[in-house]
């Protein structure tokens, strides 16, 4: 089995994750912040260590400013619902995941204005267009760090500086990027992009330069719709990927693959060159119509 759905969630999890979960269940298991006994304190220490580790990862000076959520979608709900008011204008991009886009549409129904800055068909965002969209009643820019469909990195550092200059809040959806180290996967991603481009009848969406994006690659073949490719990759080749719209219809409109969507290979730190080559061979056979 080859797992190429890392853009949805990574697998396998590093062994330290299950070890830590089991250790907590079996040896700690206590509420923190209430009782003062040793297990409650130990639970507090575990959470504090997580707080500190997250602060280090994101270069946050004060670990107390880390707020935990059950997942990124919940965290985005918390931020958007608590910070935006009717009559305000929020700015976002056209490659956002539905965990941002649907929230903004729901807020729109309650009187929040939404400006969606269009990205290029490669998924690139022009920061100058974001700045040009700022109005007097804009309190916030919300942006994904990378497209979950084509992996393109958005220039969040530059947009962050723009937000700072205008005194705006800047909300970054880092679901695709936080904790991922694209450098480790650049070589594999480039190999995948280059080889897909070389297969007749395959169209690759997004950029062509792995160093400028995450390890997520979207493509389509002439002869077969994405859902059939996905099913056959799973059943015949044991390759698990994700097909369709990836909860980001706006991104698919941006790159020109709406409504059928794409086949998405989301590589991760655990994937190997052999797996990429095996997947390429499978795609080549399916694209060539070989049974």
């Amino acid at each position: 089995m080859i797992y190429f759905d890392n853009a949805a969630t990574t697998w396998p999890k590093p062994p330290g994750v299950s070890t830590a979960m089991v250790r907590f269940m079996e040896e700690v298991g206590s509420n923190l912040g209430r009782a003062g006994h040793r297990l409650a304190v130990e639970a507090g220490r575990i959470v504090y260590a997580a707080r500190q580790a997250i602060a280090n990862l994101f270069h946050v000076g004060d670990p107390m400013r880390v707020v935990f959520g059950a997942n990124v979608t919940e965290a985005l709900n918390l931020a958007l619902h608590s910070l935006l008011r009717p009559g305000e204008l929020v700015i976002t991009s056209s490659v956002e995941h539905n965990s941002v886009m649907r929230l903004l549409r729901a807020l729109e129904a309650r009187g929040v204005e939404v400006t969606v800055v269009a990205c290029s068909p490669e998924g690139m965002l022009d920061p100058a267009q974001v700045e040009a969209a700022i109005r007097r009643h804009t309190p916030m820019i919300v942006l994904t760090h990378a497209s979950n469909v084509v992996g393109t990195l958005l220039l969040v550092a530059e947009v962050g500086r723009i937000a700072g200059r205008h005194g705006l809040l800047f909300l970054v959806d880092a679901a695709q990027t936080a904790g991922a180290f694209p450098l480790d996967e650049v070589m594999l991603t480039q190999r995948l992009i280059d080889s897909l481009l070389a297969i007749g009848g395959v169209r690759v969406y997004g950029g062509r330069v792995a160093a400028r994006q995450m390890a997520t690659v979207s493509f389509r073949t002439d002869g077969m719709p994405p859902d059939e490719i996905g099913l056959r990759l799973d059943e015949e080749y044991g390759i698990l990927c994700r097909v369709g719209l990836h909860c980001s219809p706006a991104a698919h409109r941006t790159i020109g693959s709406f409504p059928a969507g794409t086949v998405r290979f989301g590589l991760g730190a655990m994937n190997t060159a052999d797996e990429v080559d095996a997947a390429l061979a499978a795609v080549e056979r399916l694209a060539g119509g070989t049974p």
């Binding site: 912040g33 006994h37 707080r51």
Partner: protein, 75 residues
């Protein structure tokens, strides 16, 4: 009641208490994390206890590290 020999430092959360403990240890000030004494606060959770003579050094170390603390009580 006997002369107090300790000062307990109340903090806004368990995470703050753990951070305060790390800051005090780094400053070489002996301290112990204990449940909040009920005569001081009805809040749940833990606080930090230091020797009475370390009250001012502890205050200085916590303030220098920008650890928010809520109160210091002799006990």
């Amino acid at each position: 009641m006997s002369e107090p020999i300790y000062v307990v430092i109340l903090l806004p959360s368990t995470s703050h208490a753990i951070r305060a403990e790390a800051v005090l240890k780094a400053a070489g000030i002996p301290c112990k994390m204990i449940p909040v004494p009920r005569q001081i606060s009805s809040d749940c959770g833990v606080c930090i206890r230091v020797a009475r003579e370390n009250r001012e050094p502890a205050r200085a170390a916590l303030d220098a590290a920008a650890v928010a603390w809520e109160g210091m009580h002799e006990c």
